[in-house]
Symmetry: C2
Subunit: 341 residues, 2 copies
């Protein structure tokens, strides 16, 4: 079964407009201003200056450039304030999403692109010498994901109403916090190998007042293949763009991990979000070809087709697999059910 | 008078498609393959391997990725060859142009963006410490220019049928060679401060068999304000995106240079291509705001409005100035005539 969750944009920015948006928003991200400006409220120059630690005159020049670009509009001056204030336009939200793709490709993946010939000659050494900036990868992935794949996974998981939700490769627990806030009787477990991500996740859990409901485990997800105890009693397990990291080198571990998920609870449902290689649809083919080529040639990863995923999940004991398309080209959501409901 | 030379694209790539195109074509530029593939003929794997010095298996993988993306199509195997051969699609030409903007913004300008806060705090020091890669700036500008502004300047200059054509800041003499080839009775003079560009220009002139018709002078264009002898007898003088480099620090020199152009020959026509600051049209505003913000804040340059250019050219003694829009957002072509024809 194939559902189509893609939201088609009514119009596209032109390439020069996207380049302009990318320049302005990437500078804004370096200034530390984009997260503030995207809030749907009026922001004064003073607040933006305080937030970024930059001089008000410099902040004004930057905000005026965004207003000229159509990404902000000038708002009524705030009570008691003489300096102008600004509010994000609809174009700002669209641009942040679109720029996420461009900046992931040309800024976050720049060390791979700039050394492309070395990656052909000696991929192992090149991978060690030319690593991507993890912070830049995470931020640009988030800009894409907020429209292109986060909402689809969230909706799917909420509809399953888990009591114990597990997120494999949970990062800073953005998804876990969201799910636990919407389902007050649920508890959650997140596992991630990055100590920075786990610290951020614990900080987010405390900030959201989730108390004992959220347990964060610092460990590679591979460890669950040998010690699946954190999965015990889980009824929904999510793996968002993490399982392809086990292919091809850890294929046997991947299969044992999937079986462990299957055995965690009789009704456990697995929600896998991942990319298929070289998708052929007109809307998908350009990005998907680039994403696949980078993963195969530069990152030593092997993406798997819809068929390969479905067969692998069936072998692990799941009895029904539904496949949906996501907004990100080549992205697929696999819903693998245990016992039929 | 305002003519509109903009060619509006019928459809745009989506942002993910552009990101995919950018990743694949920038990798291809690093492989040294894009200039070969864009030729409108069939290219075999063997030829591409020879051209790039890369192993045939690696070249095949890359060309297959481009084919999956829709940028190449597989062609009949060439006579006697068993390996497949490929030909660029219409999408390839569009993508190269569009990617020019993105790569100029996010790859060539990356040293400015990544150090944006330092450029605010100490612009002078930051400009010294974080310079752009001249080769990357030139190549991405060329990818934009081939559709967005080269054709407009060429048509304008050819219509004036110069006998002595001068190009200020001639780079590798791409425009000079093209004009001299189309006007067999004309001669040309190019001036550029980069010794690399002048060497390339002399090489191009020799390759095009232009003999004594093309004279390349290695010097900053500012020198013409004091020694205008290379301009003697010129009837068309072109300055493409170079005069803004004199603003604001060399404003007096700019005015003397314009007067020297005016005095070079009674009928001398000046063709200035440059960008106006913060253009407001819906199609222009995003790129123009970014381009203007980068030039003002990061490069210490001051762009001038249509009005400011027209007044400056009138002060220099030109009697009529026509303004046309270019394909590049914010780009304008100023045609400044001497004596009326």
């Amino acid at each position: 079964m194939m559902n189509n969750l893609t939201i088609t944009e009514p119009t596209h920015f032109s390439a020069p407009s996207l380049a302009g948006g990318a320049i302005l928003l990437e500078i804004g991200a370096e200034y530390g201003l984009v997260d503030l400006l995207r809030q749907s409220r009026t922001i004064s120059v003073g607040e933006a200056a305080l937030h970024s630690g930059l001089p008000p005159a410099a902040v004004t020049q930057y905000l005026e450039a965004l207003a000229s670009a159509g990404l902000l509009e000038q708002a009524e001056a705030m009570a008691g304030g003489a300096a102008p204030a600004y509010k994000g336009t609809a174009a700002l939200a669209r641009a942040i999403h679109d720029v996420g793709y461009l900046s992931w490709g040309l800024r976050a993946c720049q060390p791979l692109i700039a050394n492309a010939r070395r990656f052909l000659v000696d991929p192992g050494q090149a991978r060690e010498d030319h690593q991507r900036d993890g912070g830049l990868v995470a931020r640009t992935s988030q800009w894409m994901g907020e429209q292109s794949f986060y909402p689809h996974a969230e909706e799917t998981i909420l509809a399953l109403r888990p009591r114990h939700f597990v997120d494999l490769g949970c990062g800073s627990a953005r998804l876990l916090v969201k799910i636990l806030q919407k389902l007050p009787d649920s508890r959650g477990t997140g596992i991630d190998m990055s100590s920075k991500a786990c610290a951020d996740a614990r900080h987010a859990a405390a900030g959201a007042d989730l108390g004992q409901r959220l347990n964060i485990i610092e460990s590679p997800i591979q460890s669950l293949a040998d010690d699946p105890s954190p999965l015990a009693g889980a009824d929904v397990i999510h793996a968002g763009f993490v399982l392809h990291d086990l292919m091809p080198d850890d294929e046997a571990v991947l299969d044992r991990l999937l079986a462990a998920c299957r055995e965690a609870s009789p009704k456990a449902t697995l929600v896998v979000v991942d990319a298929v290689p070289f998708a052929k649809d007109e809307q998908e083919r350009l990005f998907s070809a680039a994403f696949s080529y980078l993963h195969h040639g530069f990152m030593g990863r092997e993406l798997q087709s819809e068929m390969a995923w479905s067969e692998r999940l069936a072998r692990a004991g799941f009895s029904a697999v539904e496949v949906s398309k996501l907004g990100i080209p080549g992205g697929r959501l696999f819903l693998a059910r245990g016992k039929q409901h």
